[in-house]
């Protein structure tokens, strides 16, 4: 709940919209209750009347029709206002998350790369977006309607007001609170069981070859069946609690209706209430519990929203791993990179040990070595995505920590192993590297990356949409488009991590020839497994045992 409250600022900016939606939903509910109440009173009064045609039927029938139409219009307006405010919140929330996330990149747990965090963040933001629409709004509206009807009962049928008020309060406040407390453990179980099941699937796919080789696919299957069974059982337990809570709400409604009936009949016998009024009130009481019908589900959504809020604040309020200096130095035009006595690791044994190296401006060097040896980590250090445990890196004579991160990044362009294409046009994907580039520059970059001919024959050319994750093009083509983006960047230093993945041998050789030409005058550091054609690189180094040689 505390975490959810940290978002009240964002909710407050849409206060008007949410307030309007809440008021309209109250009007809807009230009109429904009033419609039933008036109708009950009207037909009872009509049945009791002996006046026949002299009975004033204009007022009640007008009321009945009026309430009907108010209900329809209010409901329509409520949904529109609620969705409008929710969609506005959605824009704010995403903007807020991006603004918080950028300075904190890269996230320390590195799961952002694997997509788990992405889907978790997306789901969490969705849960928060709809928190008002599906959770806070309905609970608030039910509460107000119950209080209002208790007031009406206190005026017209004082004997039953306390009973109704108690039952309604219990249904709207006590049952949800109890459900939240009781389901906390079951809810956590569901989350951790789901994580276990997911890990089991990942183990099965990533370890598919190992499992096959050792002939233990059957064990893996029964292990997964067990985790999936445990997930189903955990969800079952949660569902039992929800069903019990749902029963409690309905039982309280039953108690309120039967009690009001009993006390009302007493009052009728005592002559303190008129028959038509009693009939109207009873129908209103029955109608008012319509507001509680979604409460149990709303509580479930509210718990989800609270958990989502906790996870989001944990990320958004984490201290950034890398902080800009208070008094940043100016980046010089000199592109010399000096690595002095660098030691770096991820908590375990160091990946790089006492590494020294100088890269002169305009030099083209290739770094090779077995996978997982720390080549990509080295590129990360140059970009100051992490700081080495010992030693220092200078760019143009200035230590990296003295520079603003934005200035470091403006000086280097990276083609990472998992470089993404965005779900946008080819043009927009390229312009990320240099927003003011003209079409000629784009075509030059595409030609240098060896993909211009492919783009030229596309019906929409540069305006072709890429599809999510660049799914519309092959891996090799996607790779080349990412490369074109890096070549387009005005940065004097290019860092390329496995640029030729997905290219065949001739294309690979051609790429190194082109790179040699296209990046004249710029520093190039390539991490690669490829066979490097003679004369395309100034130096080829091997990273092994934490050392460059």
């Amino acid at each position: 709940m505390k975490a959810l409250l940290t978002f009240r600022g964002l909710f407050a900016t849409q206060f008007k919209g949410f307030a309007l939606a809440l008021i309209l939903s109250l009007v809807t509910l009230a009109a429904g209750v009033a419609l039933l109440g008036t109708s009950g009173w009207f037909i009872t009064a009509a049945a009791l009347t002996t006046a026949g045609l002299a009975f004033n039927l204009f007022a009640p029938s007008a009321l009945v029709r009026g309430f009907s139409f108010i209900r329809i219009l209010a409901r329509y307006g409520e949904r529109l206002a609620g969705h409008d405010a929710t969609l506005r919140l959605l824009a704010d929330l995403r903007g807020w998350l991006f603004a918080r996330l950028f300075p904190r990149l890269p996230i320390a747990d590195r799961s952002l790369r694997h997509g788990d965090l992405v889907s978790r963040l997306t789901a969490d933001v969705d849960a928060l977006d709809t928190a008002f629409l599906v959770a806070i709004g309905p609970i608030a509206a039910a509460f107000v309607i119950g209080a209002a009807l208790t007031g009406v009962l206190a005026w017209l049928l004082p004997g039953a007001a306390w009973l109704y008020g108690l039952c309604f309060a219990a249904a709207v406040l006590a049952v949800p609170a109890g459900l939240v407390l009781a389901s906390r453990r079951a809810g956590k179980d569901v989350v951790s069981r789901a994580a276990e099941a997911r890990a089991s699937v990942l183990d099965g796919i990533e370890g598919h070859a190992d499992l096959t080789v050792f002939g233990v696919l059957g064990t893996a299957q029964s292990d997964f069946a067990t985790t999936a069974q445990r997930l189903a059982a955990a969800r079952g337990r949660l569902s039992t609690l929800t069903a019990v809570a749902g029963f409690a709400v309905q039982a309280l409604a039953a108690l309120a209706l039967a009690g009001t009936l009993w006390l009302g009949l007493d009052a009728l016998a005592a002559g303190t209430v008129e028959g038509p009024v009693l009939a109207g009130l009873l129908l209103a009481v029955a109608g008012s519990f319509e507001a509680t019908s979604t409460i149990v589900r709303s509580v479930g959504k509210l718990t989800t929203a609270m958990a989502a809020a906790e996870r989001l604040t944990a990320i958004a309020e984490a201290p950034p791993a890398i902080v800009d200096p208070a008094m940043p130095a100016e980046r010089t035009a000199d592109a010399t990179i000096v690595l002095a006595d660098i030691t770096f690791g991820y908590g375990g044994p160091p990946v790089l040990t006492n590494l020294d190296h100088i890269v002169a401006p305009g030099e083209h060097i290739a770094i090779t070595g077995p996978s997982g040896i720390g080549k990509s980590s080295l590129l990360g250090l140059l970009l100051r995505l992490a700081d080495p445990q010992a030693g220092r890196i200078t760019l143009g004579g200035v230590p990296l920590p003295a520079l603003r991160q934005a200035d470091i990044h403006a000086g280097m362009a990276l083609l990472s192993q998992d470089s993404p294409l965005f779900n946008d046009t080819i043009r927009a994907n390229l312009l990320i590297a240099r927003p003011d580039a003209d079409d000629d520059a784009l075509w030059t970059a595409l030609a240098d990356a060896g993909i211009a001919d492919f783009v030229r024959v596309l019906p929409a050319g540069l305006d072709t949409m890429m599809g999510e994750g660049g799914r519309t093009v092959s891996v090799g083509q996607a790779r080349r488009l990412c490369l074109a983006r890096v070549l387009l960047s005005p940065a004097p230093i290019l860092l390329l991590d496995e640029p030729t993945t997905g290219l065949d041998r001739p294309a690979e050789a051609a790429f190194f020839e082109t790179l040699h030409q296209a990046a004249q005058g710029r520093t190039v550091i390539v991490v690669t497994h490829a066979a490097i054609p003679e004369g395309t690189m100034d130096r080829v180094l091997t990273l092994r045992g934490g050392m460059l040689g």
Binding site: L35, L36, S39, F42, I43, T44, A47, L48, L57, S61, V64, R65, F67, I72, R75, H83, D84, L87, L90, F98, L101, F102, G115, V118, S119, A199, S200, V201, D203, G204, H208, D210, V213, F214, G215, Q221, F224, A243, F247, Q250, A251, A254, L255, L261, W262, L265, L268, L278, P370, S371, G372, A406, H409, M412, S419, N423, G469, H529, T542, G545
Partner: protein, 612 residues
């Protein structure tokens, strides 16, 4: 409705059968509760009618009040039971679907091009299957209720008051028609809205996925404001659509309100003799009953409308699952099309290795338990020879030839090195020899075509350490014992010592029982490699295939690890793919892969640690 749409709907209803009796209970309970509702409304109306019109004393009405309370409680209980049964049914269906999908995934060849990415597959099996929940737990019961209850209520009321009954009977079934009419556009609009929202969500996820790239290109501020502008633009467009989409639910509300108001006016006007449509006089009891039933006739439809999106969500989830893991349609009958390569159809051009022996028996068939202990299968022991004739290997997408028409022989008990720069195809060749991927040409293992080896025999007699062995979530000991389920702690311990795992494991407080994160989180590359190497020592294989077993080790440790490996491999055939000339120097012979061919190469003599 498009064809895909219809196909998805069919797949969903086929899955229904796995819900069993729980699904019947989940559908039946609301229907029974609906029946009790009629009884309850009648009792309430008669208590009120008697009290108000006939001035009956409270005492005589007491049984009626108790009955109302009992009926209300019974309906509440039925609702809870139906709810719980719905979840149970949905869980049963999801469990069944998940295990089937997972088995199916494992039944495919691990290196087939059609195998999905791990992230996408786990999302499909966990998240997309979860999205089917609402369809079975809520939508299906609501749909049956909406089909049966309004008509049943109308039929009950018809003999009591023909006009009210007719009103209900005509309007209730008409509502879906009107909803469809008023919202032919509305249906389209709803879909467009769903699409717009999912577009926004996917744009958000898309940018999130590439957020580091965006930061490195200095796009932080531009993207932050960009996402807000895009969200706002989509909001404007979505709202235009919603204005129409919500009309269809307004139609529903209109009929519900019309029903209540119409009944109220009709009953009221009849009482004051303004209307004379009945032959018998209308009692207050009956009037109140009609009024109480009026909103209930429309309620099942409202409930259905509330759960309508569950159906759309489930349909799109089915589409997503099939996109990732292949078609689901024949699944309930137990046989299903496999998205992987079919061994039969590949037989013509490719000599079908059958890494999918499991799948032929159907996805749920489990391979027979194999006794993998050194003592087991004593009848078949000793080193295995290997011979390849005009062997051709391609990348999984068949785009590139890795090895063309290679011939080579490895005698039983021989130790051979496979050299060549990374990415040249050493791993592919090893995997082909382990029958993990397709190949063209012939491989004979122990004078028997590799393709003809029964899966359990092949796995019992060969073993392999891949380049990126998977470290599973669990303890170190558990990870080592993967090679021989049921291995004794002493055996595991010995294997750990020989692979030099014990050296770093003993420094940890829990030793070999230390829990490892998923994917080997918390281990260095070299440590993960050695844990995987320990698995080899639990096997009594005639052929051992190792892919860069010393890649992450320093020169000194490399030699020590090799000493142990050589000792274990004496009397067995050993093939090692490696970069390291120091490793190759200790083998009996070596090949080099270069330019799609396999060339015999002299053994490196220098003890110096240089790199191939």
């Amino acid at each position: 409705m498009t064809d895909t749409d219809r196909h998805n709907a069919r797949t969903l209803s086929a899955l229904r059968h796995n819900g069993g009796p729980w699904l019947i209970l989940a559908t039946g309970a609301p229907l029974l509760a609906g029946g009790l509702l009629v009884w309850q409304a009648w009792t309430l109306a008669s208590v009120l009618g008697n009290a108000i019109e006939a001035r009956a004393p409270v005492a005589t009405l007491a049984p009626g009040i108790v009955l109302i309370l009992a009926l209300l409680l019974a309906r509440a209980a039925l609702a809870a039971i139906g709810d719980r049964a719905g979840t149970e049914a949905a869980e049963a269906i999801k469990l069944r679907l998940r295990t089937t999908l997972f088995s199916h995934l494992l039944a495919g060849s691990p290196r087939a091009a059609t195998q999905p990415q791990s992230g996408a597959a786990s999302a499909a099996i966990i998240d997309q299957v979860e999205a089917l929940d609402g369809f079975f737990a809520r939508y299906l019961p609501a749909m049956i209720g909406a089909t049966v209850l309004p008509v049943a209520f109308g039929a009950i009321i018809l003999p009591l008051d023909w006009l009210a009954g007719l009103l209900f009977l005509v309007t209730a079934p008409l509502i879906p028609v009107f909803m469809a009419l008023a919202g032919w556009g509305a249906q389209l609009a709803t879909e467009r809205q769903a699409r717009a929202l999912s577009l926004l969500t996917s744009r958000f996820a898309d940018r999130l996925r590439g957020i580091v790239t965006l930061k490195l290109f200095g796009r932080a501020e531009a993207e932050t404001s960009g996402i807000v502008v895009a969200s706002d633009e989509l909001r404007r467009r979505t709202l235009r659509v919603l204005r129409i989409a919500f009309l269809s639910s307004a139609v529903l509300e209109f009929f519900a309100a019309l029903g209540v108001a119409g009944i109220a006016l009709y009953v009221g006007l009849t009482f004051i003799d303004y209307l004379h449509l009945r032959t018998t006089p209308l009692t207050l009891e009956l009037g109140l009953f009609l009024l109480l039933m009026a909103p209930e006739v429309y309620n099942p439809l409202r409930l259905l409308a509330a759960h309508y999106h569950d159906r759309a969500a489930a349909k799109s989830a089915i589409g997503e699952i099939e996109a990732q893991l292949g078609t689901l349609s024949p699944l309930p009958s137990g046989e299903r099309a496999c998205p992987g390569l079919d061994p039969g159809s590949a037989a013509g051009r490719m000599r079908g290795p059958s890494p999918r022996t499991v799948s032929r028996k159907g996805p749920l068939a489990r391979p027979k338990t194999v006794d993998l202990s050194p003592r087991g299968r004593g009848e078949a022991r000793g080193p295995l020879g290997l011979a390849a004739t005009s062997l051709t290997l391609r990348t999984p997408d068949s785009a590139r030839v890795i090895l063309a028409n290679a011939d080579f022989t490895i005698a039983p008990g021989e130790h051979a090195a496979l050299l060549g720069p990374s990415g040249i195809g050493k791993s592919t060749l090893l995997e082909a020899m382990a029958r993990l991927r397709l190949y063209e040409g012939g491989i004979m293992l122990d004078h028997r075509p590799l393709a003809d080896w029964p899966e359990p025999d092949l796995r019992a007699r060969t073993t392999m350490l891949g380049q990126k062995p998977r470290i599973f979530a669990g303890s170190m000991a558990h990870n080592i014992a993967l090679a021989r389920p049921g291995a004794s702690p002493a055996d595991i311990r010995r294997a750990a010592e020989r692979a030099h795992v014990a050296a770093f494991a003993d420094a940890l407080p829990d030793g070999l029982d230390t829990l490892l994160g998923e994917g080997g989180l918390g281990l260095s590359g070299g440590q993960a490699q050695r844990i995987a190497l320990a698995r080899i020592y639990l096997r009594d294989a005639g052929l051992i295939l190792l892919d860069e077993p010393t890649a992450h080790l320093d020169a000194e440790l490399e030699q020590v690890v090799l000493d142990d490996l050589k000792a274990h491999a004496s009397g067995r055939t050993l093939i090692i793919a490696t970069h390291s000339l120091a490793v190759a120097a200790r083998m009996d012979k070596a090949w080099r892969i270069a330019g799609e061919t396999l060339l015999p190469t002299p053994l490196p003599t220098g003890k110096g640690r240089s790199v191939a």
